[in-house]
């Protein structure tokens, strides 16, 4: 999801925004696709791109900020190298999501919307992953996992953390 620092140097956020705008068109309705392109690339919407996007789409900066802040998913600061999204919606609650949450928060030593001190993992809540018959569900770096027990979570996390 996020890229290595070398790639970031090659592709400054502004260039990524410019490429997305060139692809999507200089229209207001290009805004969400452009924000997604940035977040896909950098894990967040870099602040320095906002004036540029505003100008290119003929919007005010406040307008762009307003959109970024409205949507829960857009981040304004870089996340950890791995993103853990824990489903807290009803079907997962029925299968032990609150206990899993307690385990995850304790193991990682962070709460929701926080990043571990070593910068490896950001924890976020999500309200349903469409995996409700295999609850509780967790998404790690875009992959959904079902019937996640505390042990299974630890094993799942060991894998990407080992790699990073």
């Amino acid at each position: 999801m996020t890229s290595s620092s070398a790639a970031v140097l090659q592709d400054p956020p502004r260039d990524v925004a410019a490429a997305a705008i060139a692809r999507e068109g200089h229209r207001r309705d290009a805004l969400l696709p452009v924000l997604h392109a940035l977040q896909d690339r950098f894990g967040h919407v870099p602040a320095e791109t906002i004036p540029f996007i505003a100008k290119a789409l003929n919007l005010s900066r406040a307008d762009v900020h307003g959109v970024v802040s409205f949507y829960h998913e857009f981040r304004t600061a870089p996340p950890g190298r791995h993103i853990v999204r824990l489903c807290l919606a009803e079907a997962c609650q029925a299968m032990g999501a609150p206990a899993l949450r307690a385990h995850v928060e304790q193991t990682l030593g962070v709460g929701m919307h926080e990043t571990t001190s070593d910068g490896t993992v950001t924890l976020e809540p999500v309200y349903c992953l469409g995996n409700c018959a295999c609850a509780p569900s967790v998404m790690i770096d875009g992959e959904t996992h079902g019937r996640v027990t505390a042990e299974r979570f630890d094993a799942l996390l060991a894998e990407p953390r080992g790699r990073s």
């Binding site: 997604h36 307003g66 949507y71 998913e73 009803e90 309200y127 469409g130 409700c132 569900s137």
Partner: protein
Amino acid sequence: MNHTIYIPLDTSARSLGADAVAAAISAQAASRGVTIRIVRTGSRGAFWLEPLVEVATPSGRIAYGPVQPGDVAALFDCNFLTGGPHPLRLGIAAELDFFRRQERLTFQRVGVIDPLSLEDYLAAGGFRGLDQALAIGRARTLTEVIESGGRGRGGAAFPTGLKWRTAHDAPGADKYLVCNADEGDSGTFSDRMLLEGDPFTLIEGMLIAGYAIGAAKGYIYLRSEYPNAERVLAAAIAAAERHGYLGRRVSTTDFAFEIEIRRGAGAYVCGEETALLESIEGRRGQVRAKPPLPALQGLFGQPTVVNNVISLASVPAILAHGAEYYRDYGVGRSRGTLPFQLGGNIRYGGLVEKAFGLTLRELLYDFGGGSASGRPIRAVQVGGPLGAYLPETLFDTPLDYESFAGVSAMLGHGGIVVFDDTVDMARLARFAMSFCAHESCGKCTPCRIGAVRGVEVIDRILGDRDRPAAIALLRDLCDTMTQGSLCALGGLTPLPVLSALEHFPEDFAIRPRTHAA
């Protein structure tokens, strides 16, 4: 001999290890020098059996499940490639009881065909609905859909054909079709399964709708939580373009139609149709006041039909087999089938497509087999986070729109979430309020402020601070939200809250302080 093996690429199957099983089967086959062909399908929707592996044999597709990578060597040893016996052997997939008792119209091909093979799709009856629509013309296509009695499956259950006719009749230079694939309701996954398992059916439904209303452009607003569905859908759209089913001359006629995917960004309220349109236009997802109806003035101010994935995916069968065929399923004013989704604490969770009219109890026990924990089922939430919580005494309610309205509940998108007797209903009522506060678009006070107050008041009840007064206040607050909210987020949040209070009052009684949900 070349063996064909079917393994789902569905998110839920993958969430239980389908990819690792596919890799293990490939590796075993290679090391044994056996030639196999793995076809990645959607899931048939029996999730307790996933990863479900099927092998093609002369007597049909034999299923094995749930398979883990560690089972693969033994499966080869038992000659599973020719349907050999093994403890995980389930028999012919389509003849499993769970499927045989269903009525699969919309999901007939899901889990069966390769979702990205147009050849498979055509061989399984695909595009007959579109051919029929193009042959009979716009007016008769509209009539067919109206006469089928089909109502929107996204939640509000508005008659699909009437919505289409309104947009068709509305003056406007450009008309739009928008498919609502936001599937924000917790406890629901039928849109996802269809998108991953048979995306051409949605594309066909959108083509028929676009043709009938006179739109040249369709959008699919897909939630960002479904990256796997997005990949499959994008590939399906590209394949349809390559084969002339999308583009300037659809099926070599003068009808032009293109489809663009727009990804959501984690806002539940963007499933509400007008907030969704705002979002496509690049704005904050705030609800628009109605009127004007989107069918008259929707996307970019133009006449727009917004329909749920399942509403649109049901249309090809209506056109292919006729309005009457579809209308013959169901009861009263609830015609056709609904893909119910059984989730939460349920033994046999998954997708059950059935005609309206079976009871909740049949679904929970005959299909679902009771709770997963083996404890008694105490509460069931039907219809997503804005749906009512129902107790055992209401399990004999028939699953149709009117019967559910009769018990102050709703079917919504057909999601059914099961809780056993360890559930704390006050905590769920609090969750419903806090979810509303979290997701409110902020446009109207009863919802924006009311939900925050609602959480405080429930905390007062739980903390036993002047409980009778707090309960009275909660009811008042719910009344204000019901009456004064602009959309169903604020307007229906009282449904889970009050149903919990109504049916499970004991959970709101004096007790030790609990942690916040």
